[in-house]
Symmetry: C2
């Protein structure tokens, strides 16, 4: 979890504050008073030393303390800056309060038109959840592709097994161990990305007409998959940082039971949910399993961002905890290695055989070459090193975009503080209609996702999701332009 701006620094716990702690406290006060605003550069170490009459070392210690508390951050060769999070109100106002009515997803056509609009030349795409190409190991992958193409002609001439090639299933099983799950390669079914994984899981687990509980807000891909399976989504209040509210979930389960339409499955993304970037605690994961077992609800876990936490250990999947044997895990390499390969997977416990059959009926088998290329990349050990670099970069880029939003958007704007992934969920002033904002931004070649895509209600009209995996002067200019448009919409 990233440090919180509003946390009182450690200094307050010590009986007699040291000199560097006093300096830090003074700077902190100026930030909270908005003398230094989010994104502002703080005085240089030398300047502050001179102003405060303290040593360079003391200033450095003070800045490090503020950095540890998450209030400021250094930029190489540039000095210290106020973190974007510093202006955030507490997360509570952003908590969702969805209506307790299961509904069908209705934004298919908006998504469809977006898939065409994104082809516009020169578009700055902040809408779709593409990983940052500059981070991906593309040169290495190209080399592996050539050697696999030479050495594995069967990747062309054979259909490949419906469950996928063993080499990649073994790698997935091995890597699941880091997420706390003991999985056999025989349990893994390779799919067309996480999207097909979710479609197959829903199809296997639910019966048409049923109800599936989801986080609110919820990635539209989940809502599409549920709708496609002939099911309705029931949005459940979700905390901006800690994930789905277990109290709200259990209330919803009980209420649906009382209505005689029990929830059949619950689709959750405990690790760096899209769009919130929230991460459930170990204790909440345990409790979620217990609730699901108690109410006979199948948990379908989307773990597609699980490898992209900003700090700390790889968070565990629900299967790692008591009662998690029947959690269906859906994931893919689309966010970490290459979306264009469309390699995902599902691990489905007691639904494995059914899912394997469904996979054969839908698409026979997945293309072989991308599977073998990713298996080779995972085998040769470059993945962890690459991930370390990517996680750091995403953390940095998400921070930069947060700062820019704080700088260019109206002050009442709220932004999530994700602990992984590369999405930002932005709450705009009430009067801003994000569908209108989407159209206005597009006319300036800036592409964003309107909040209404993340709900089956007409909720989140004044929210947008920004994909923050990349950062550049061009993107900063786009965020600035977006901010100006929002300002204009408020004044109008």
């Amino acid at each position: 979890m990233p440090a919180e701006a509003t946390t009182v620094p450690n200094t307050s716990h010590t009986p007699a504050p040291k000199l560097y702690e006093k300096v830090a406290e003074r700077i902190r006060g100026m930030i909270l008073d908005r003398i230094y605003r989010p994104g502002d550069r703080l005085p240089s170490v030398r300047e502050l030393s001179k102003q405060s009459g303290v040593s360079i070392t003391t200033v450095l210690d003070a800045y490090r303390l503020l950095e540890d508390s998450g209030l400021i951050h250094p930029r190489p060769q540039s000095g210290y800056y106020v973190h974007a999070y510093a202006n955030l109100k507490p997360a509570e106002p952003m908590r969702s309060a969805p209506a307790p009515t299961p509904s069908h997803f209705t934004r298919d056509q908006m998504l469809q038109s977006m898939t065409h609009e994104v082809e516009r030349p020169g578009l700055i795409d902040l809408a779709f959840a593409n990983p940052n190409p500059d981070l991906l190991p593309l040169a290495k992958l190209a080399r592996i592709i050539s050697s696999v193409a030479r050495e594995h002609p069967e990747a062309s001439y054979g259909y490949g097994p419906p469950s996928g090639h063993r080499a990649i299933r073994e790698q997935i099983a091995q890597r699941s161990f880091a997420a706390g799950a003991v999985i056999s390669p025989d349990e893994v079914v390779i799919t067309m990305g996480c999207q097909e994984a979710m479609c197959l899981a829903l199809r296997a687990v639910c019966t048409p007409g049923g109800v599936v509980a989801v986080e609110s807000p919820c990635h539209y891909g989940v809502l599409q998959a549920i709708h496609l399976a002939g099911l309705r989504s029931l949005e459940v209040k979700t905390r901006t940082r800690e994930g789905i509210s277990l109290e709200a979930l259990e209330d919803a389960l009980v209420e649906q039971e009382d209505k005689g339409a029990p929830v059949q499955a619950c689709m959750v993304s405990p690790n760096f949910q899209n769009p919130l970037g929230s991460c459930m605690s170990v204790e909440d994961k345990r409790r979620l399993n217990a609730i699901a077992n108690r109410h006979n609800v199948v948990l379908i876990e989307d773990d597609v961002y699980g490898d992209l936490g900003f700090e700390g250990d790889r968070p565990r999947v629900l299967r790692a905890f008591d009662g998690g044997e029947n959690v269906v895990i859906c994931s893919s390499f689309s966010k970490t290695i290459a979306p264009g390969y469309r390699v995902g997977w599902v691990v489905a416990g007691k639904w494995h055989s059914e899912i394997e059959r469904l996979k054969h009926s839908f698409t026979i088998s997945a293309p072989s070459l991308p599977q073998l290329v990713i298996a080779e990349f995972l085998t040769d050990g470059g993945y962890d090193q690459y991930l370390r670099r990517a996680r750091k970069a995403y953390s940095f880029n998400v921070g930069r975009m947060s700062e820019a939003i704080a700088r260019y958007f109206p002050p009442e704007t709220l932004v999530t503080r994700p602990s992984g992934g590369y999405m930002l969920w932005v709450q705009l002033p009430e009067c801003v209609d994000s569908v209108e904002l989407y159209a206005k931004a597009l006319s300036h070649n800036i592409f964003i996702s309107a909040g209404v895509l993340f709900s089956v209600e007409d909720g989140y009209r004044n929210f947008i999701r920004l994909s923050a995996g990349k950062w550049s002067p061009e993107i900063e200019a786009a965020v600035a332009k977006l901010g100006r448009i929002v300002h204009q919409m408020i004044q109008a």
Copy 2:
């Protein structure tokens, strides 16, 4: 269309037969009397010249006449052989007579276990419809893969458009012209092989609980797709060589209308149907469109073997004819270029937009690399040359397997005479249960498809489908072994 063994040679139309025609007639008589049996080597030209007291030229002319009539064929450096077709009874007894009841497909589990069995080392696979690897342009594809991987990093880092990359859609549109259809690249949606194409088409066109008319026998992939969409299949009598019986189809449509459960769609494979290898005439295609329009039934055309006719021009798709504007075409490169790439497509007329949306919800987009590789292969012009070689080879290999069946199976065995593709549909004596034969063959590492897979009824129990794309002494030995097993089953 291949020449028929039972056709009376042209000679009968001439007033006074010439000498070489008399010689040919004598040989023909000996073949029909089974003095020379299918697969037998005929006397050498020199021998026959000596025996008959005619010149070498006359014998050569006689053999060429018999060859033209399809009764015999030459093998290089070896002489002339009796064609397998020579012992076939007329096709009529193999005409299907399905029950007029829509049903669900129930052989999913048998197919699933087959997808595991096929992994057995040393298995001779005559079951699955894999193209012959020796024919595929694998070396060329491997070179293209390397260059595409280097030159198109976006194939890795982007999701790619839901409808597929323009380069391949353009090639598909261009090539459709050879099949008589004028198609714009904007109408094409790239899919995971023909299987996803069919699933999307059914989903767009039909409503759950509906009825879809199919050929009988029908490729199990079609029956799976229909079942998966929550629909029932209604098998319609299909002629062994000429495709679906239009009279039977119209009767079925009327009957279902009378029952209040009108047929919503008709899935047909007019060009080289799997498993029959039948090809509809131009006139029948015209009539099929008219019937569909008259009864408000959507035609979904599986054209996956359309490029693999043994001779003559590329047969036209239904869209090429009056009233074909709303035929949904489903196809793929899995039978022609590389099944492992899983590149298929759907051209859906007025359902295009709906199918594009469904595609995005199911699997977002298809993997980019295989699309770009196939586009490049099609662009550089090697495809037609390759196809000519492949069509010739399939024709030859299918002929060899037919001969072997005639030689090694009981004489009452019937075999189709496909005009394209590489499937043989074999009718065994009534008492032979092909599910039992499947198991017995598997215990000898020979893999076949039981006839029951090609029907939603329990029909075709004494049929098998053999995939005849390859030919080798090893495969001949497997066919011989199969024949012995069938002989034993009859005697038991």
